[in-house]
């Protein structure tokens, strides 16, 4: 899952936290707990955590301090600490579906899909899940590489909440990953009917057009997605990468440079963006720039064999044969190591 997806999940989780959970009672708003709630509402989550910690220390188990501490820590992306707080809260409030659903989300964010699913199962036995919950359930199955179940739960998510844009997006992505292009297309088109200028949906329609052998339509889709996200505070690098990639495939490597440069600027820590830009520079004969980008890619992801391979090819073109050989050797070593890392046999029947 890419950074953007993760950020969206965090946002969704926080939205759920703010909107979906009951507010504390009057009795609970006094003292440290009350101050904590005030800070929480004001968005001062670090401070809120301190108040909730003190409240819990003073009156253990009498307030929802641990639950709110967990929520605050989720806002701070401190998922291990959030998990700890929620687990403690659940000792005294084992049937708190607020805590259970949040814990399921927290475990998902820690890439522990099986545990997350187990918690969601506990929660659902008490209170039916929302579309957002089912979306996370579906994404847990994605992490488990079980796309059939992922699709099943994401479909349920959109059945429960037909206007849940993110659920439609992830359903479309899941279909796309399994090359169920017709269903993916429908999901993204539904998302566009809910938000006619959703750049994610348009970008993914571009990928589908490309796979269908419609490069012109794909290019138009990427350009639309770029235009629609222009005003966003945090535009995605994806449509730029896809547009640049496609232009290169069409033999327009010179035209590919601008979108690929933009992608690398938007995602300076994304090794792929630097690598593909390096390839584009190489194709345009800008070997020094290509070298810079490809070296950046290998620095960002030193264990990525593809980046080393592309750098080796560049060095070879630059007649730096020793350096090329070193990169090819690194490629071979990494490929072998990665292949070896997958040697864990599947479970016996």
């Amino acid at each position: 899952m890419n950074t953007r997806s993760v950020n969206r999940l965090l946002f969704l989780g926080l939205t759920a936290l703010c909107l979906g959970f009951p507010l504390p009672t009057r009795a609970q708003t006094e003292g440290d707990f009350g101050h904590g709630i005030a800070e929480f509402r004001a968005g001062n989550y670090s401070s809120a955590v301190e108040f909730f910690t003190r409240a819990e220390a003073v009156s253990p188990g009498t307030t929802a301090a641990l639950l709110y501490k967990g929520k605050s820590l989720v806002h701070l992306s401190d998922f291990p600490a959030a998990e700890q707080a929620l687990q403690r809260y659940l000792i005294s409030h084992p049937d708190s579906t607020d805590a259970l659903y949040l814990l399921g989300f927290v475990l998902h964010r820690q890439n522990r899909p099986s545990e997350s699913l187990s918690i969601y199962t506990r929660a659902a036995a008490i209170t039916p899940p929302t579309g957002d919950d089912l979306k996370i359930v579906g994404l847990n199955y994605v992490l488990l590489d079980d796309y059939a179940d992922a699709i099943q739960w994401l479909q349920k998510a959109v059945e429960i909440e037909p206007r849940n844009q993110d659920a439609w997006y992830y359903l479309g992505r899941t279909y796309y990953t399994k090359a169920r292009l017709g269903e993916a297309r429908k999901a993204f088109q539904t998302l566009l009917s809910l938000d006619p200028q959703d750049p994610r949906a348009e970008n993914n329609l571009g990928l589908i057009y490309e796979t269908d052998g419609q490069p012109a339509a794909a290019m138009e889709a990427y350009r639309k997605a770029i235009a629609w996200q222009e005003q966003n505070l945090h535009p995605s690098e994806q449509p730029y990468v896809n547009l640049g990639n496609l232009l290169m495939e069409q033999g327009q490597s010179n035209e590919a440079l601008a979108p690929l440069e933009k992608a690398a600027a938007l995602a300076p820590n994304n090794a792929f963006c630097h690598m593909i830009l390096g390839i584009a520079y190489r194709q345009n004969g800008k070997l020094d720039k290509a070298q810079h980008e490809l070296e950046t890619a290998t620095q960002l992801e030193p264990d990525n064999p593809t980046a080393h391979y592309q750098l080796g090819r560049l060095y070879k073109e630059q007649h730096a044969l020793d350096r090329a050989q070193a990169e090819f050797e690194k490629t071979a070593e990494l490929k072998t190591r990665l292949a070896g890392s997958q040697l864990t046999p599947p479970p016996k029947r």
């Binding site: 059939a148 495939e249 090819f328």
Partner: protein, 587 residues
């Protein structure tokens, strides 16, 4: 780190646009007569309609490959088999040898070496009679076989003038010496070439240039009958395990001791690198006078073994840019062929793989490196949704450009459950070389291209000696198909049967350059390539409208060079290796 797009993709590369220049420069500097009269004409004529027809039954061939599929989804079940086209009795007509499987119990205990238990599991030798039909001579020839067969290699290892057979299998291979009287003798033990493990494609090559064929035997995986569940844990979803779950294994390389015995030299020859080898093809890619070979590996880097000329080899796949695809990704290499498809005098490579990967076409740059040109040559889009195995460059319409025939079908019989747009059974693919790239002409080339098979092995040869190349295709747990080439064309052709004397008698590794008024072509004598299979060793050239080859230049494996001038088209010509260099002859 690949963002947000799981389907296979590839990037173009600028180098392909420089190819013509690079290749021309090296053409002028190459030591051997590589075509300076490079053809510039392309084939504007449409593809001949209904070019191929399935004639299996009318030829009297009734063979069924028994894969013995089980509920345990042993990977072995889905990989075979191979086929060979050879003239075992030297009557001038190609015969067909087919490899068969063996029964598997369900489950099969770990450590089992499956054995054939009845007629239905026999390998089969079909002899071609003078009327063009075939008769089953398996029993008389003594070629029933024993184990769970995979592939076959053809070569006259003792230079006695009769083609011998090497049959690969799971758990041990067999060498059958051709006695010259219609029978074969199992000489595996005395020859010392039984091997072990899971052997796949094999090739006869004179690795050290001593005039005797050596033997390279690929092995697929370090594998056994373990009862492991791959795929989703649902009824009907159990699938064959991905090769990533198994360790690679070194090939077997047997040096011919010239006395009927062999010595295993993989380590000594620098060829012991663990691999997941499925396909093997030979050519002297850098034209340094020493035969090289390519190993198609499944889901790991492909190997290009460069012959250092001292009996040892080194893998130069990465530095030559054929180890991975253009994006630097490995793929499921299965079948391979090594031939000059663009008529620039340098052998190119095609490697088949699985759906969503695109078959890899590497154009030889003439400087020791290759360019991945699948997208530019039209092969990428054409093959994105297909899974290919047996593959050969061959000029089916005799227009002077080598086309591609590819046996297809996914390895997973469950593939459609998870990927509804992919198919387990697929029709064959015929890609016509227009001189500017490849075009899918399957749809107009016969109903055989509408029939979906689980195709695997494929051998190419001129079964009826009419100058039009035919094909034999095996299917997994299905029948064999003989595809007769009936392309309506007035184009001319030549079929050259090289006979070595200083060199190995099959002339495997000999290079042939043919020059006509229109241009030139280049080929290497080989029985290997494709997948698990062995093809007609005779070298075929389509001559287009030219009815004379101005020159045929041969570089024999011994180093002897021979030139033939003004060779009439439309004939099968035997060419004997002359006793010394510089010989010229007019047949």
């Amino acid at each position: 780190m690949t963002p947000n797009r799981p389907l296979a993709r590839a990037l173009p590369r600028s180098r392909v646009f420089l190819l013509a220049t690079v290749s021309s420069v090296f053409c002028f500097t190459a030591s051997f007569a590589v075509p300076q009269e490079r053809p510039v004409q392309t084939t504007a004529a449409p593809a001949p309609p209904e070019a191929f027809v399935d004639v299996t039954r009318t030829l009297g061939i009734n063979f069924q490959y028994r894969a013995s599929h089980t509920s345990r989804k042993y990977l072995l079940e889905t990989m075979g088999p191979g086929v060979a086209l050879l003239d075992y009795d030297n009557d001038g007509r190609l015969d067909i040898f087919l490899v068969n499987g063996a029964p598997l119990s369900d489950p099969t205990p770990k450590g089992t070496i499956p054995q054939k238990t009845g007629l239905e599991y026999w390998n089969r030798l079909y002899h071609q009679k003078s009327d063009g039909t075939f008769e089953d001579v398996t029993e008389k020839a003594g070629l029933q076989g024993t184990g769970y067969g995979m592939g076959v290699a053809v070569g006259d290892y003792d230079n006695d003038g009769f083609e011998d057979l090497y049959v690969t299998a799971y758990g041990g291979n067999k060498l059958y010496h051709n006695n010259g009287n219609g029978t074969f003798t199992d000489v595996t033990q005395i020859a010392g070439v039984g091997g072990g493990g899971w052997s796949t494609s094999a090739a006869w090559i004179d690795l050290d240039g001593d005039g005797f064929l050596d033997l390279v035997v690929l092995r697929y995986l370090a594998w056994d009958f373990d009862d492991v569940w791959c795929g989703e844990h649902k009824e009907g979803y159990r699938a064959y395990c991905h090769p990533d779950y198994f360790k690679p294994i070194a090939p077997l390389v047997y040096h011919n001791n010239k006395n009927g015995t062999f010595t295993e030299v993989a380590q000594k020859a620098g060829l012991s690198k663990p691999a997941k080898g499925l396909g093997l093809a030979i050519a002297d890619y850098d034209r340094d006078g020493h035969i090289d070979f390519f190993v198609a590996n499944d889901s790991m880097m492909e190997f290009l073994y460069h012959n250092k000329g001292d009996g040892t080899f080194e893998d130069v796949g990465l530095v030559s840019e054929v180890a991975v695809d253009i994006d630097g990704r490995t793929y499921a290499g299965m079948g391979v062929d090594f031939a000059d498809y663009n008529n620039d005098g340098w052998p190119d490579l095609v490697v088949t793989d699985l759906a969503n990967q695109r078959y890899a076409l590497y154009q030889n740059n003439g400087d020791g490196s290759f360019s991945y040109v699948s997208p530019n040559a039209g092969l990428a889009q054409m093959t994105l949704a297909h899974s290919g195995w047996g593959v050969r460059f061959f000029d089916y319409d005799n227009d002077g450009w080598k086309d591609l025939l590819i046996a297809q079908g996914h390895d997973l019989d469950t593939i459609e459950l998870n990927f509804p747009h992919l198919r387990y059974r697929e029709p064959m693919l015929l890609a016509r070389n227009t001189g500017h790239g490849f075009v899918d002409v399957s749809a107009e080339s016969g109903t055989v291209f509408t029939q979906a098979w689980v195709a695997r092995g494929m051998a190419i040869g001129d079964l009826d000696n009419d100058g039009r190349l035919d094909a034999v295709v095996t299917t997994n747990d299905g029948p064999v198909h003989v595809l007769h080439n009936q392309a309506q064309t007035t184009n001319h052709w030549l079929l050259l049967n090289l006979v070595g004397h200083s060199s190995n008698r099959d002339a495997i590794g000999a290079e042939v350059a043919l020059v006509t008024q229109t241009g030139s072509q280049f080929a290497t004598v080989s029985t290997a390539s494709s997948y698990l299979s062995a093809s007609d060793k005779r070298v075929h050239f389509g001559l287009g409208k030219e009815n004379v080859a101005l020159r045929i230049e041969i570089r024999w494996p011994s180093g002897i060079r021979q030139t033939l001038k003004d060779v009439r088209a439309d004939q099968i010509l035997r060419i004997d290796e002359p006793p010394s260099a510089g010989s010229a002859a007019k047949p």
